[in-house]
């Protein structure tokens, strides 16, 4: 009997991704779906896709999903999880979505320790609208709204989401990964699994930041995009575990008034 | 007299540039023009198209109900737009890439192997300019000198070698279609 080494995750529909070739969204979608399959939670999972390139995620994930307005995913996810505490709820957000227009909703969901997970795709640009500056765009990085490169004096500094959110008392688990290498992909998958487990254990807010490639707007090949993540992005946004309360015993969720 | 043309093909084939260069040159000839691109999600799928209207009087609608010309740079473009062309209109096809032919009898079709021709000239990316050579001759909307002059302005400060290839590509397309 042949051993199956590759199969289509059950939590992914058969539809063909609309993402550009080499796009990091495709990779992360697959990882999330594999985790859902492996944890056996397809039937109790509800996802909240953003306005961003992943806006059509409901075409790919075979779980219940409701599209949120730009940046408001964490508010929707908060409410869904509060109404259905035994479900697994995740919002899926880009850097513009989470750290620009939706920073208030994300920040306060984390600060309240809402018991859902955020899958945060950091590709350092606004992908969907055609490559404008994102909050995570790095200094001197060119974008269509920073034609001469991002300047600290007028555009400010790149926002370091994992560093900031890990400082909030409501956050239970925050990790930054990168999908630029096989090892990074494996780490990302583990992190997503841990985030979902954190939620099942009622520990509170979890966030997995993924350094993700956007070959189209970076105007690089997929291979060079991976190099860019490893050599440039990872220096500004170092991967690693920024907060982890999952090892601690006792359910913090119950301890909260 | 108003003449509307749809240019259509893959993103990256320079389809939009074909449209803007026609609009720009017709404007410098003194005509009224509109250039209307398809944008956004329509382009994510990898296709690109635009409509150019040229007229000696004010242009009412930039939307083309029945274009006089359809320029087809890839196969899907032919199927999407061939039925829109006005009876008696013309379709110009990049026959290096497009294998099918129009199913209509009431139009004139020109087959120009522009990708191959551009390759022979040393730059397959000039296929759109080869096509513009054929188009300018067939359509008679702008004189070739005006078109070429406009093209040079658009290309601006870019390399001289490129300008040279463009001129030769244009001439090749222009010669290819007999009037």
């Amino acid at each position: 009997m042949a051993k199956i080494v590759f199969k289509h995750p059950e939590s992914l529909k058969e539809n063909i991704f609309h993402y550009c070739p080499g796009c990091g969204h495709s990779i992360v979608h697959r990882l999330v779906a594999e985790v859902i399959d492996e944890m056996g939670i397809r039937g109790i999972t509800i996802g909240v896709p953003p306005a961003g390139c992943a806006v059509l995620a409901y075409n790919y994930f075979d779980v219940d999903m409701i599209e949120a307005l730009h940046g408001r995913g964490p508010a929707m996810a908060t409410a869904i999880k509060r109404c259905l505490p035994d479900r697994v709820v995740f919002s899926y957000q880009g850097d513009g979505d989470l750290a620009a227009i939706g920073i208030a909703e994300s920040f306060h969901a984390a600060n309240r320790g809402e018991n859902f997970s955020v899958i945060f795709i950091n590709n350092a640009v606004y992908g969907m609208t055609g490559g404008q500056m994102a909050p995570t765009t790095m200094l001197n990085q060119r974008s269509t709204t920073t034609p001469a490169g991002r300047k600290q004096s007028v555009d400010g500094y790149p926002v370091k989401v994992s560093e900031i959110f890990s400082r909030l008392d409501g956050a239970a688990y925050v990790e930054r990964c990168a999908v630029s290498s096989p090892a990074g992909v494996n780490k990302t998958k583990k992190a997503i699994r841990k985030a979902f487990q954190c939620q099942l254990d009622g520990l509170g807010f979890s966030l997995v930041e993924v350094l993700s490639l956007c070959p189209t707007n970076w105007k690089l090949s997929s291979v060079d995009s991976c190099k860019y993540i490893d050599e440039v992005m990872s220096k500004v946004f170092p991967p690693g575990v920024y907060k982890d309360l999952t090892g601690k015993t006792g359910k913090t969720a119950e301890a909260r008034p | 007299m108003i003449i509307k043309t749809i240019f259509s093909g893959f993103g990256g084939q320079g389809v939009m540039m074909m449209g803007t260069s026609l609009a720009q040159s017709a404007m410098s000839k003194g005509c009224h023009v509109t250039y209307l691109p398809a944008y956004g999600a329509e382009m994510r799928g990898g296709t690109a198209n635009c409509t150019v209207a040229v007229s000696d009087e004010e242009i009412a609608s930039p939307v083309a109900s029945e274009p006089n010309y359809l320029v087809v740079m890839n196969q899907p473009a032919l199927f999407t737009f061939q039925n829109r062309v006005t009876a008696g209109g013309s379709i110009l096809i990049n026959s290096s890439i497009v294998e099918a032919s129009p199913s209509r009898q009431d139009i004139t079709t020109f087959y120009i192997p522009c990708t191959d021709m551009a390759q022979e000239l040393g730059n397959s990316r000039a296929a759109n300019i080869v096509m513009m050579g054929a188009f300018v001759r067939q359509s008679d909307i702008v004189p070739p000198e005006i078109y070429l002059k406009t093209l040079e302005t658009i290309m601006g400060s870019r390399k001289k070698a490129l300008a040279d290839i463009n001129r030769r590509a244009f001439a090749a397309g222009y010669e290819y279609v007999q009037k």
Binding site: G130, T145, V154 | Q24, V33, Y35, L36, G40, A60, P62
Partner: protein
């Protein structure tokens, strides 16, 4: 002045900078990204020009309110969802009598909708959009040239009446390229007494929006209302196209009016006596002129890229003095002139 071929989004940006706009804040959204990008590239080169890519549309509108208070000519732009987010700020600018230009390059709605051309934001634009008893001057340009001219005029009127003004166009107007000539802008006339620049040695000023005292509040509302009346009397604009012998008049604005003109051209060649009435200001709506027309024309057809919004203003204007038919294509659908011509011809023949 030379003709230049530019996309509508870029025309608005260029016209604004020429008109002396020196502060722009915006947030990306299709189909107006080219305008934000144009300002990113050119505002920083204009003397004293400030461009900020804000963190949201909410921030953008409040940024222009601040810059306006500081005495600078200001503009922001967006589409659909972003314009909705700006409404609280627009209401506040109307209340605080702060001039500023808001550009809405309409896309299909409701909700995220789509990014195609639409005219579904007519109610939002003309009815105030935000809360409270206020109006916004709304221009609906119908060509690249008008985008240039009306953008400049909008700055002048916003200053003159100390009120926010809106340019209401759609994805097609924003993306389409047409030749334009930029006219010479008028010098700005905006008294320093309305600007907050620090009291210096003189009396300090404040600009407020909260009026807890009902007497003050009512007085302020009446003052605004009188201003809106003056605007209605003096600033209403429209275009009449082939109305002289028309038996049926199409009422349409912006892109829809362009398509209607194409359709009319076709039908006129078949001897059908059809004309176009095109409101250029949607607020104030050219109500009186339309009512006058109903003395001679008895049949109107309203055409919009929506399910029927301006239709209500036409009904109010005609007050039952004429028959009104409607044709609409919502959600990003743009009919061709041929399609519209068929609809118009059917109505025309019924009425004939």
């Amino acid at each position: 002045m030379n003709k230049v071929l530019m996309s509508g989004n870029n025309v608005i940006g260029e016209a604004a900078i020429r008109a002396g706009c020196r502060f722009y804040a915006g947030y990306p959204i299709t189909p107006q990204n080219e305008l934000t990008e144009y300002m990113a590239e050119h505002m920083r080169n204009a003397e004293g020009g400030i461009f900020i890519q804000s963190e949201s549309e909410v921030a953008a509108i409040n940024m222009i309110a601040g810059a306006s208070a500081a005495g600078v000519r200001v503009m922001t732009s967006s589409s659909g969802p972003g314009i909705s987010l700006k409404q609280e700020g627009i209401s506040s600018m109307a209340a605080q009598e702060l001039p500023g230009i808001i550009v809405n390059i309409m896309r299909g709605g409701p909700g995220l909708g789509n990014i195609l051309p639409s005219q579904g934001d007519y109610f939002q634009a003309t009815r105030g959009g935000g809360h409270g008893d206020y109006r916004t001057i709304v221009f609906a340009p119908g060509s690249g040239q008008e985008l240039a001219d009306l953008t400049m005029d909008a700055f002048d009127l916003a200053d003159k009446y100390r009120t926010p003004a809106m340019i209401l166009a759609d994805g097609m107007m924003g993306q389409m390229m047409e030749p334009v000539i930029f006219k010479k802008p008028k010098p700005r006339q905006y008294p320093e007494k309305f600007m907050l620049r620090g009291a210096g040695g003189g009396k300090s000023k404040f600009i407020r929006g909260l009026l807890l005292d009902p007497v003050d509040s009512e007085a302020h509302n009446w003052k605004l209302a009188r201003k809106y009346e003056v605007i209605s009397e003096n600033e209403t604009r429209f275009e009449e196209h082939r109305l002289d012998d028309a038996k049926l008049v199409i009422v349409a604005y912006g892109t829809a009016a362009r398509i209607a003109k194409g359709a009319i051209k076709r039908l006129r060649s078949h001897d059908m006596k059809i004309g176009l009435f095109r409101p250029i200001t949607l607020w104030p709506f050219p109500e009186m002129r339309l009512r006058t027309l109903s003395a001679t024309v008895k049949n109107f057809l309203v055409f919009e890229m929506s399910t029927g919004q301006m239709l209500e203003d036409v009904r109010l204007a005609l007050q039952g003095y004429a028959d009104i038919e409607f044709h609409g294509r919502p959600g990003g659908a743009v009919p061709t002139p041929a399609e519209l011509a068929n609809v118009i011809a059917r109505v025309y023949e019924q009425k004939d």
